[in-house]
Assembly symmetry: C2
Homo-oligomer: 313 residues x 2
């Protein structure tokens, strides 16, 4: 039998991402032992029932003891407290990593708690759904998605390579970049899109009551597309906006400027400007589909899913 990639893998936080990592590690035989920690006893019970961990504990420190790789899968704002608990338990040569959606703030929160005999290699899998908790995870979540690894300057290349290999073994493509650049790119690919989705759904919710009920009724006209990401976890997203403030405000500024230009074109009836803008945006979707990051099926394949369910019932 070949040796697994990691002897003891510790995962702190059994939510969507943590439980998906545990499942992927288990299905692909990537770890000798998979230990999962979650502060909530009922979540621990659920993890035991789901059976994707060898050991389950409420104590992050206990999970980290003797682990070769520890991955924190908690909201960005909880990183510092969890790191303070886990750091002292890290054994010589251990790697501590995370999955946080913001990387600059996470680096600052983690670094002081990593002992000199351990390695810090933060990462962010660009994959997820609008659901949370241990039941929402699945082993193939990271397949053909990107995982961005943001090691601080001077990190031991061997430690970086182990984290790369782990993510590749879970089906992800890996890219390495600085935490700062990560935060700028994610501001436009993820954080601002979430903000404006949350915002338009909020605008609809503030309308007079009868109008809001009509918004729900006629949402298939486009609105419903936005409600998916506006149903994401509020704690996670609060933390993202609090910790990636500069980049989000910068990209939001560009968004608002561009929106003013479109608004002006509407006000003054400039059909050519509108037509030109609407033509240029098509190419981006085409590229995303070509790169395997999106389905070409009409309407995200919603119809196919509904039909399938219908035929099964």
């Amino acid at each position: 039998m070949t040796r697994p990639l990691v002897d003891r893998l510790a995962i702190v936080g059994a939510g969507l991402i943590g439980s998906s990592i545990a499942r992927a590690a288990r299905e692909n035989h990537l770890a000798g032992t998979i230990v999962v920690a979650d502060r909530d006893p009922s979540v621990c019970g659920r993890v035991r029932a789901l059976g994707f961990a060898d050991d389950v504990t409420q104590s992050a420190r206990e999970a980290a003891e003797g682990a070769d790789i520890v991955i924190l899968c908690v909201p960005v704002g909880a990183t510092e407290a969890v790191a303070a608990e886990v750091g002292p338990a890290l054994k010589p040569g251990a790697i501590i990593s995370d999955v946080g959606s913001v990387k600059g703030a996470v680096l600052a929160a983690l670094a002081p708690h990593v002992p000199a005999h351990a390695f810090l290699v933060p990462a962010h899998p660009v994959a997820g759904t609008e659901f949370s908790g241990p039941d929402a995870g699945f082993a193939t979540l990271f397949e053909n998605r990107w995982c961005i690894v943001t090691p601080p300057e001077g990190t031991d290349p061997a430690a970086v390579e182990r984290i790369r290999m782990l993510w590749r073994a879970m089906g992800a493509n890996v890219e390495v970049m600085s935490a700062e650049h990560h935060d700028l790119v994610l501001a436009i690919t993820s954080h601002v899109p979430h903000l404006i989705a949350y915002n338009i759904v909020g605008t609809a919710a503030h309308l007079e009551e009868t109008l809001t009920s009509e918004v729900i009724k006629f949402s298939a006209g486009g609105f419903r597309d936005f409600t998916r990401i506006a149903a994401s976890d509020p704690t996670m997203w609060r933390d993202v906006f609090l910790t990636n403030r500069e980049a989000v405000l910068e990209m939001l500024g560009r968004f608002t400027e561009d929106l003013s230009a479109l608004q002006r074109a509407i006000r003054y009836g400039d059909g050519d400007a509108l037509f030109d803008h609407f033509t240029r945006t098509r190419a981006i979707r085409r590229s995303i589909i070509e790169q395997g990051q999106e389905t070409p099926a009409p309407d995200f394949g919603r119809r196919a899913v509904e039909k399938q369910k219908h035929e099964e019932s």
Copy 2:
């Protein structure tokens, strides 16, 4: 044999919506004869090959002659010119309808061309995909979707009832309201969502070249959800914004105000305000799913579609 709902049904414009109506009418035996008109000879050829019409012609006037119901399925901005051609050909008792996404402007464009011996009953099926043309249509497009009918005041109730029955027979739920109210509701459920989707994709396209390529790569973080509606037909959407200006600017104003409040909360680190906002927006999606207007599957069911394709190949 029972008599079909309509003896002669004429559809002008064989795009996504027109071809879907023809297919739905054919599959459900709703018309004795289905005539489809399209100005483009190659589209006419395609319609013949696809076989969902009994007669195909390049002339909208010819299609309308002798028809009991004529449905214009062209961009809102083309309505007036097509109505001028079709109006004089309408037989006594004929109903002229349309499917335009804006109703106030369409009413104004159509009304002068409808002879006194015919009836005008505009309608708007709130259903669609990001694709266009005769190949994109399908018979079930309107199933369990809403169709909004906006008869001008004083319209013969029997004519309104015929249009309602036609849409119901194609699987739609029908609601009647004024053109003005329709335009306000659709501004928030469809027009502003499309505008901000077009806008964020545009903002991403304007970034420095390397950043834009990273946006494409890491689009699974949320951005790709917006690219779907930003891939919709530019002509159709130019016309929507030019003809529903007032309501769009009104709703866009509310959106921008709300966005400023969120931006301020980010700038001043007001986590509670962000958390509250992000919590309230979840209920709206839940209602949309409960009302059967959206799939509860994670990620719009994208994974299920990919998996299905994978297993078939």
